[in-house]
């Protein structure tokens, strides 16, 4: 569905952001795209949408080179950018004008998400708060039913009830034929929705595995601070250590639930050790 091969890219005068980056993304999955600030998550999404061109390598969406920005490819792809400005028009007008560009647009879904979020689409979009505008764009994006849906920090700016509404709505979507990519820092908010974890570090994808593989290879557990058990990565908290172990390393108690934030921190600070655990796993 999304294929990135040997992508290299640098902003002018800066050091390369991506070096030979390769990544495949398939249908029926929600990808969590994680990385530190400046790692290039947004830049990668911009390459997928064809808004940035690689210096080397290739990025294709459904077999079409992204930089071509062909109408067919773009009508099957939607991006919710982190920072966005909507044109000066009402929500109703925006929908009337833009929905025809997406042949699979689901009006009923749009109305139900708008109702759920309680957005007034008769108001001018520029008069709505940032959070309301974001809810509107999320509703529109979900209703386009495009096979590729990219969301850059989708819950930034949403209030707490809206975050759980968002999780509920996305979880209820039929994504058997869709590939959803969520780029976010809010791993605690969105971790539960994700099927596949992809991490960018130093211009490369250093981790790209599904939840099954993660749970098969790693365990997450809180142990006493003075415990002698070996772990790959740990964070001290109130006399205990919340740690990531090799699978089977903590036999005495069942492993706790996957902690996405802990996993991300482990991947960033112990990249080689984590990669070692997944050596035999195919992506």
């Amino acid at each position: 569905m999304i294929s990135i091969k040997n992508l290299s890219f640098a902003f002018k005068k800066n050091k390369p952001l991506f070096k030979d980056l390769s990544l495949q993304m398939e249908t029926s999955k929600i990808y969590g795209l994680f990385g530190l600030n400046g790692a290039g998550k947004t830049t990668l999404l911009n390459h997928i949408t064809g808004m940035l061109f690689p210096a080397e390598g290739e990025c294709t969406v459904n077999g079409v080179t992204a930089r071509e920005r062909s109408p067919q490819m773009l009508s099957d792809l939607f991006l919710i950018p982190e920072q966005f400005d909507l044109p000066s028009m009402t929500g109703t007008q925006y929908t009337e004008i833009h929905a025809p560009f997406y042949p699979t647009f689901d009006e009923a879904l749009f109305e139900s998400v708008i109702d759920e979020f309680k957005v007034d689409i008769t108001s001018k979009l520029q008069e709505l708060s940032y959070g309301q505008r974001k809810k509107f764009l999320i509703a529109f994006a979900l209703a386009t039913n495009t096979r590729v849906l990219l969301m850059d920090e989708p819950t930034n700016g949403l209030d707490i009830p809206a975050k759980s509404q968002f999780r509920r709505i996305v979880a209820s979507l039929d994504y058997s034929n869709r590939c959803i990519v969520i780029s976010t820092h809010q791993v605690r908010d969105l971790g539960a929705m994700i099927d596949q974890v992809s991490v960018i570090k130093n211009g490369e994808i250093v981790f790209n595995h599904g939840l099954d593989a993660i749970q098969k290879n790693l365990s997450f557990k809180k142990i006493p601070a003075d415990s002698e058990t070996d772990y790959i990565y740990g964070e001290e908290a109130l006399g205990s250590v919340h740690a990531v172990f090799r699978a089977g390393a903590v036999n005495e108690h069942a492993s706790e639930e996957l902690d996405m934030e802990l996993l991300f921190n482990a991947i960033i600070s112990q990249t080689n050790n984590i990669q070692e655990e997944f050596k035999t796993v195919s992506v």
Binding site: N46, T49, G50, M51, L52, F53, R69, S70, P71, Q72, L74, S75, L77, F78, L79, P81, Q83, F84, D85, L86, P87, S88, M89, Q93, E96, I97, H98, A99, P100, F101, Y102, P103, F105, E107
Partner: protein, 263 residues
């Protein structure tokens, strides 16, 4: 809900929709620009009638009309330079760049709005202004109805053809620059003429060293030499001059827009 064809070739249906979208986005600027100018011109005409010297209403109207065509051009360039205003911020560029339509459809929409529609509306507005001036002239000033409509005095076709070329240059500026598009394009045009001037001086010096004194003639008004021809021949000659230049700048604009990346 309407659904547009999503073929990869040029689609007229999609082009109409892109034009409609661009028109909705830019309508406020165009409405205020054209409406404000017409009201301003009418006020100017009244002031000329009240405080002016011995000029007739007909002469005042011709001045207003000539002034109107100058504003038509300059205002048009300002509006053209901002026709793709969405491209100027990363927040809105995504809306434009990922809109499922061909680059050619997007560019052609910009041209149709900034040239065809704008020219039609502007001259319809000017005609309406003349009509209003004709109708109100007798009430406000001398009590007799006068038909003040005389567009022939302003070389209408020349104005529209000159605007055609410069509009395509400002369209290129709209696709090329990332802010202050009008000023940057105007400055680029100015630099181009300065460069051409310097080039001519250097060339004339070089040539005169070998072949004696050389005289270049350079006219800012490019159609002066066609004025003596018949109307169709004149138009044909003007188009020969104008169309290749316009197509050249539209082609540059197309490639610039096609290769435009998010800031």
């Amino acid at each position: 809900m309407k659904s547009l064809p999503m073929t990869n070739g040029f689609s007229f249906e999609r082009f109409k929709w892109v034009t409609y979208r661009l028109l909705v986005i830019n309508k406020k600027e165009y409405a205020f620009g054209i409406g404000g100018t017409l009201i301003g011109l009418y006020a100017f005409w009244i002031l000329m009638g009240v405080f002016g010297s011995q000029q007739t209403l007909q002469e005042n109207s011709t001045i207003v009309l000539a002034f109107g065509t100058v504003i038509y051009q300059i205002g048009g360039y300002v509006l053209t330079a901002s026709i793709f205003s969405e491209l100027q911020s990363p927040g809105s560029a995504a809306q434009f760049l990922t809109l499922p339509a061909k680059t050619g459809e997007k560019l052609f929409s910009g041209w149709v709005i900034s040239y065809v529609l704008y020219t039609l509306v502007a001259f319809l507005g000017l005609s309406l202004l003349i009509l209003v001036m004709s109708l109100t002239g007798n009430l406000l000033f001398d009590g007799e109805f006068q038909n003040l409509y005389d567009l022939t005095k302003i070389y209408l076709n020349n104005v529209v053809l000159v605007y055609l070329v410069f509009n395509s240059i400002f369209l290129l500026g709209a696709a090329y620059f990332k802010g202050k598009n009008f000023l940057k394009t105007a400055f680029s045009i100015f630099l181009f003429f300065v460069f051409m001037g310097i080039l001519m001086i250097i060339l004339s010096n070089i040539i005169s060293n070998f072949a004696g004194p050389v005289m270049f003639s350079w006219s800012v008004y490019p159609f002066a030499s066609f004025e003596s021809s018949g109307i169709f021949k004149k138009l044909f000659l003007q188009l020969l001059y104008v169309l290749p230049l316009t197509l050249l700048f539209l082609t540059f604009s197309y490639f610039r827009l096609k290769n435009r990346q998010v800031a």
